[in-house]
Symmetry: C2
Subunit: 521 residues, 2 copies
């Protein structure tokens, strides 16, 4: 594997799994060539019989299985998912080998994949790995190089032909026999099913799996029957308790509340909230929720409203929608039952997918229309490069999610406590770069707010405010102090690249190398 | 031009405008090869500036105009459209020559195109031609061979790469600066904007033209900003009075009422209405409306409901939806204000487009899910072949619309008076075949109902009913009698093929030849 230095100075390969790879060239610098994928032209003549299959096994019988194929899933079932393990078990029993899995994300529930990777059924993962599978990857347990992409990057890769899917499984809380499907109705309802859109449009074969077969027409048809080959009814898609936790709660930790309040004050004091096109995005973590709560209070006080909020939707965001402080929710995923219900019922709560929201290879997605994104991170360095994938000890335990895509906002704000136990958030050089410093605009900690000096326009907006503005270097020093002055050395790795981190435009922004470890796995 | 005999015995070309053409091979017999179109991969880096252009002229400045390019439009503005003439006038003034226009349909309001065709600005039309432009085509006034396609066929042709669009104009009653657009809101609201979907997905450059620019997000976003290059605000899209006539009225003509009633009795007596998946489609003509009215009455009496109705929506259909006799309307176009309002407000009134409804080159569209289609025709022959394009005197005055696509229904019923003035509806051999007899299941006239003998299953359903069943030959004889025994000879044509009629799978089902005429044009 030949490594070259990319625009961030990171050493990245020029070829991954025998395909050309382009080193990161800076935000907006890489220009794509070629054509989007043109899938095979199907004909209605092949679909005069029912698409209903009796079982996953019958789908596999019909799907022309072969070694080395790529099978995809989406992650809306989260840690309650029962489908990935079921299908891969069946593939294993059929003796299929060398599969690439292309899930939008994996969770701890997918730990059984570890055995299938070790046995060679699964050769690689192109997708987010939260937990045990990422742990295996870090220790060099994959036969190939894993590829991590953002939500928008995954759509891009499928659309651009970098990720060809042979067989896509789409777990659908509601579907009809034609294959029309959505995520908002039914016992396993999880809300938006948008992460599966690209799979439905571009995979060779598409199987919709549902525990709630409804009469035609299943509507909304976020997934359209015209793209679907097979429909299978199953008893259950997984564990509904774990699909939607229902426990998205505002933090009560005073430090985190302070950070959230600083972030909300930062947004307020930029004056953005008073502009007619104001909009914001925040996640479902306890601190993000607190940020939304404070921001809502400030907006209520000022009598202003946001043109839209980008969800991850929660009860809190739904309340702001119903109150009129937020005019629309553009939702990418629902984090609680209130979000799901609102998406199903409120016409101002809009279902989105990675094409509309995040894909960089469109004639514009709406990510740059978001004025403020507030995000978490595991590390940020003095150049504002951010790591959300690996821990400071080198373990690859998190996917990118929409992180890279949301940095397209006018102001991207990282919120984090300055130190977690002995781990400082601000470092000289992040272990892994998920997003380049040029895309990150501010870091908010309990010890002050550092605005990226590249953003003089934001600093200009903040003149005369009482915000605790500091430099990132000051935060670095403060962090060092907090952990007692003793920074841990960088984790020790071998030369083997176990995973590549793609920037949202398909270039390689960084790699993860195999960790030298004493059998932690 | 080499002509060969197709599966219906019609002589059709093997090449049209220097592209290969496939002769019709029978319903469901032609198997497509190759890939759907993969449009150029765009990048968000090219869309960081506003897409808003000051004028159509600025769009044309940006659009890299060249002679021979293909420019497309959609026809939801119908005879109130102001955009096609405006744009083509501007192209003419810029000296562009040899353009192919690819409108989904043209109307009498587009008569000014006649001059642009004569002057060479426009070389050809691939699209439906209702009225003056069709008249010009019939007399050999085009430089190339026109191509007529059904709604589904047009989507297919664009998707399959048979019809490449360089620049698409999408007239939108509501749009935002990102290019998200719909047809349901605003002063020029016309309802579904579905006919423009393929253009937005596959054209090189896409311009949304609106008289109602709304703040982001314009929702529903039937047209998505990620596919749009330019947005232009104009004072008016056309004449709202003519966009939606508002005068869709049930016929009062006793003969037509009788036919409509026979058709409704036919549907009732098949027993289909009592089956849980019953559904129907009917247009907005006076006789079609009468059919819907009678059918609704029968269904009310029986206490049954339809799983869905396929619109063209009208007040009448909306009333059935609100009453619960129809569970969903799957709407392709709105024919009156009641239809538009219902589409905008009622979640059971579903917006469709030719991909979901009609395109044959999908993994199934919903056309075959419709149980009964009731359609008009200009001619039908004793083999049940139907002509909706040319009049019996050879003039090409009508497009295909969704006609071919709707014949995919379980039972396709043609309703027509047995003779119009001196023109019998039943002939030995239609002037032009729009749909093959194998796709047509019954002809309902005031003198009886002829069921296609191919459909023994339908005849079986009708055993013991009191319907006035007759053979098509009896209707032929009766028609001859009605016009005094004197059938007009076939119109006299030259050998020149002026237009090709494509079947919905892209094969050539028939051609229109240049009419020998004494300067009727």
């Amino acid at each position: 594997m030949t490594l070259v230095r990319n625009a961030l100075g990171r050493m990245v390969p020029t070829e991954i799994n025998k395909k050309l790879a382009v080193p990161f060239q800076g935000v907006g610098k890489h220009r794509p060539t070629g054509l989007k994928v043109g899938p095979e032209i199907p004909t209605g003549a092949d679909f005069t019989e029912s698409k209903l299959k009796q079982s996953i096994d019958e789908v596999l019988d019909c799907a022309r299985l072969k070694d080395g194929m790529t099978v995809s899933f989406h992650h809306h079932l989260r840690n309650g998912d029962g489908l990935v393990n079921l299908v891969v078990d069946k593939l294993a029993r059929r003796g299929v080998k060398g599969i690439t899995l292309a899930p939008s994300a994996l969770f701890p529930v997918h730990e059984p994949l570890v055995e299938h990777i070790k046995s060679g059924v699964v050769a690689n993962i192109e997708g987010s790995m939260n937990g045990p599978v990422g742990r295996l990857c870090t220790t060099g347990g994959f036969r190939k190089t894993a590829i991590l992409r953002s939500h928008g990057g995954r759509y891009r890769a499928i659309q651009d032909g970098d990720l060809h899917i042979d067989l896509a499984f789409i777990a659908a809380p509601s579907a009809d026999s034609h294959g029309n499907a959505n995520g908002v109705h039914g016992p396993s309802a999880f809300g938006s099913i948008g992460f599966a859109l690209a799979d439905s449009l571009y995979a060779d074969k598409v199987a919709v799996v549902t525990d709630n077969l409804v009469p035609f027409p299943c509507y909304p048809w976020a997934i359209q029957g015209g793209n679907v080959d097979f429909v299978v009814q199953v008893d259950s898609l997984g564990d509904p308790e774990k699909i939607v936790s229902g426990t998205t709660k505002i933090t009560t930790d005073p430090t985190r509340l302070k950070i959230a309040r600083f972030a909300a004050e930062l947004v307020r004091d930029t004056g953005l909230v008073e502009e007619p096109e104001f909009s914001f995005q925040a996640g479902a973590g306890g601190m993000s929720l607190a940020f939304v709560k404070y921001l809502g209070e400030f907006m209520r006080k000022k009598g202003v409203s946001a043109a839209f909020a980008r969800g991850g939707s929660t009860q809190l965001l739904v309340d702001l929608l119903n109150e009129g402080i937020v005019k629309y929710i553009l939702d990418g995923q629902c984090f609680d039952m209130a979000g799901i219900k609102s998406l199903a019922e409120n016409p101002r709560h809009i279902d989105t997918n990675p094409f509309t929201s995040y894909c960089y290879h469109t004639k514009g997605c709406f990510a740059p229309k978001v004025k403020v994104s507030v995000l978490g991170a595991t590390e940020i360095d003095v150049n504002f490069n951010v790591n959300v994938n690996t821990h400071s000890d080198g373990w690859l335990l998190h996917g990118i999610g929409g992180f890279q895509d949301t940095t397209d906002a006018y102001m991207t704000v990282i919120t984090a406590p300055l130190a977690r136990k002995t781990h400082p958030i601000v470092v000289k050089d992040v272990v892994t770069v998920t997003a380049p410093g040029e895309a990150i605009d501010a870091l908010v900690t309990e010890h002050g707010i550092a605005v990226n000096p590249r953003r003089q326009d934001i600093l200009e907006r903040l003149k005369g405010t009482e915000l605790p503005l500091v430099s990132i270097e000051e935060l670095y020093d403060k962090a060092t102090e907090l952990i007692g002055g003793k920074r841990a050395p960088k984790p020790e790795t071998t030369d083997r690249v176990v995973a590549a981190i793609e920037w949202r435009d398909g270039t390689v922004i960084d790699v993860v190398k195999q960790l030298v470890t004493e059998s932690r796995e």
